[in-house]
Assembly symmetry: C2
Homo-oligomer: 303 residues x 2
């Protein structure tokens, strides 16, 4: 494709997505592959990348910009975190560039760090690029749901601060490795209502009381308060409702709606959670990562 000017790669621990873009950042073609970082043996990142983007081999020597966990300690190139506040400009200035043995020019977008008011640290890798792809005027609160959900306070595209909640990671661990596993295996009942009830419980009292509420899922199933097969949906709702309450304390002054960034399934689940709380939310463009890569690449003069 002769219009192609840039290849964007979103390379995570378990996922690999690529986009071929033109000089205006329009997406000409896409690939997905199962070569998440944990699937790469002996640090054979270059061979894996070239194999994955081989459909675009007619566009050899196109520059590649990569973001995600590929810049973590277990990735291809470890890069230091860029502190907040920062945006696309600083990310462009902090690119780490290499030229591969095949002569390919490759730029890595680094992750970002933030210090909370009490000095406690937060980090992300990959989400900063998605956020850079959502260039809206004014202030927003963004949520990027996931294993480690990110909530970012953004002003005119710059990330002023962010907060991570270990929601997805904790959900999987608590669902399969605590007493709740006795009833999370089956699903049934009214899943949507169960999820919404969990969300409202988690959101109450500013998200405090989680260790108690986790056990009440067990007690409620034992006493027949709710159908035991609803446990997994109630747990999911409880954790997401808790996460929303925690984030609300993190950025209490921000006007709605919250902008939901990310994949369709989780975005839908979080939209349902906001609806259960009567809170306004809207979904962002799911290609935010590629838009962010393009914006950073243009800022750096790569296209």
């Amino acid at each position: 494709m002769t219009d192609a000017r840039l290849i964007g790669i979103d390379w995570g621990t378990t996922s690999f997505r690529g986009a071929l873009m033109d000089a205006g950042g329009r997406i000409l073609d896409r690939i997905e592959d199962r070569i998440g970082l944990t699937a790469i043996q002996d640090r054979a990142f270059e061979a894996a990348l070239e194999a994955a983007i081989s459909p675009w081999s007619g566009d050899a020597r196109l520059p590649v910009i990569a973001s995600g966990m590929v810049t973590s300690r277990t990735g291809w190139v470890e890069t230091p975190y860029l502190p907040c506040p920062a945006g696309a400009d600083e990310l462009a200035g902090a690119l780490t560039a290499i030229t591969t043995s095949a002569g390919r020019h490759l730029s890595f977008v680094t992750g970002m760090s933030f210090r909370h008011a009490d000095g406690a640290p937060d980090v992300m890798r990959g989400e900063e690029t998605q956020i850079a792809g959502i260039a809206r005027p004014g202030e927003q609160l963004l949520v990027l749901p996931g294993t480690h959900s990110k909530w970012a306070h953004v002003s005119d595209g710059r990330i002023l601060g962010f907060r991570t909640a270990m929601t997805g990671d904790a959900f999987a661990a608590l669902k399969d490795h605590t007493v709740l596993r006795l009833t999370t295996g089956s699903s049934g009942g009214d899943g949507q209502a169960a999820f919404a009830a969990g969300v409202r419980t988690g959101f109450a009292e500013g998200g405090a009381g989680l260790l108690g509420r986790l056990f009440r899922l067990r007690a409620g199933a034992l006493l027949g308060d709710y159908p035991a097969e609803e446990t997994a949906e109630r747990l999911s709702g409880l954790l997401i409702g808790t996460e929303i309450a925690e984030a609300h304390r993190f950025a209490p002054g921000l006007a709605a709606p919250v902008v939901i960034v990310g994949g369709a399934e989780l975005a839908t689940r979080y939209a349902a959670a906001f609806a259960a709380l009567g809170m306004a939310a809207e979904a962002a463009d799911p290609d935010a990562a590629f838009h962010g890569q393009f914006r950073i690449a243009r800022q750096a003069g790569l296209v």
Copy 2:
């Protein structure tokens, strides 16, 4: 032992403890066995019990009183929960008695349930008997640390209400099955200081913000804020500090000291947590379960 009048059995999912008691409730002899309920095949509870207490076979036909998960759905005899408020009197009145094929008279102490102000349920099996063994005048807040820690509001020996926190269960799941597992495997640094720092972090803001604080353990290890090998102690402290904050909201008006009931190792850990918060606490008699069994048995006319 001709003075023996009662055998008390504390039979849990993974533990079995027995005591031989005289007419005054003094403990004449003890046994411990690995026949937790999950180790019993084909519901062979009677055979397992008789084998375990065979050292006391010279005292055949002594009545047995049993408490713990042995009355749960997966135990020997499932008994309904007794609602709070209740104490030794009600527990004695709610005993479930059977006579085994060997002619042994066996009484089961049932568990208790509680409804929180918002209607959410809580349950326990075994701890009600330990609490019945701690007969002190006036009001107390008791903590029984464990997989599912119990906090009981007790007045003149009667349980007015209680609250469970899924602390130990969540600790094991989060430690071994989230991203924290990458650094919880090794131990080092100043474990006591790390634990205390975790307790204080968990207790702050009334225990709210746990999902965020869990991730900051990861971020702190990545950024070198603390030695990564302290992760497990910090996680333990974070969860116990959160549990204490949650319990403080549950029973805000109760005067110190909190009474710690239970096994030595966990009791020591909780005592260190209270010390880190500058809160008064004291340890109860570790034989509370047997004392409670004796008190209930006497109330029921079994001795």
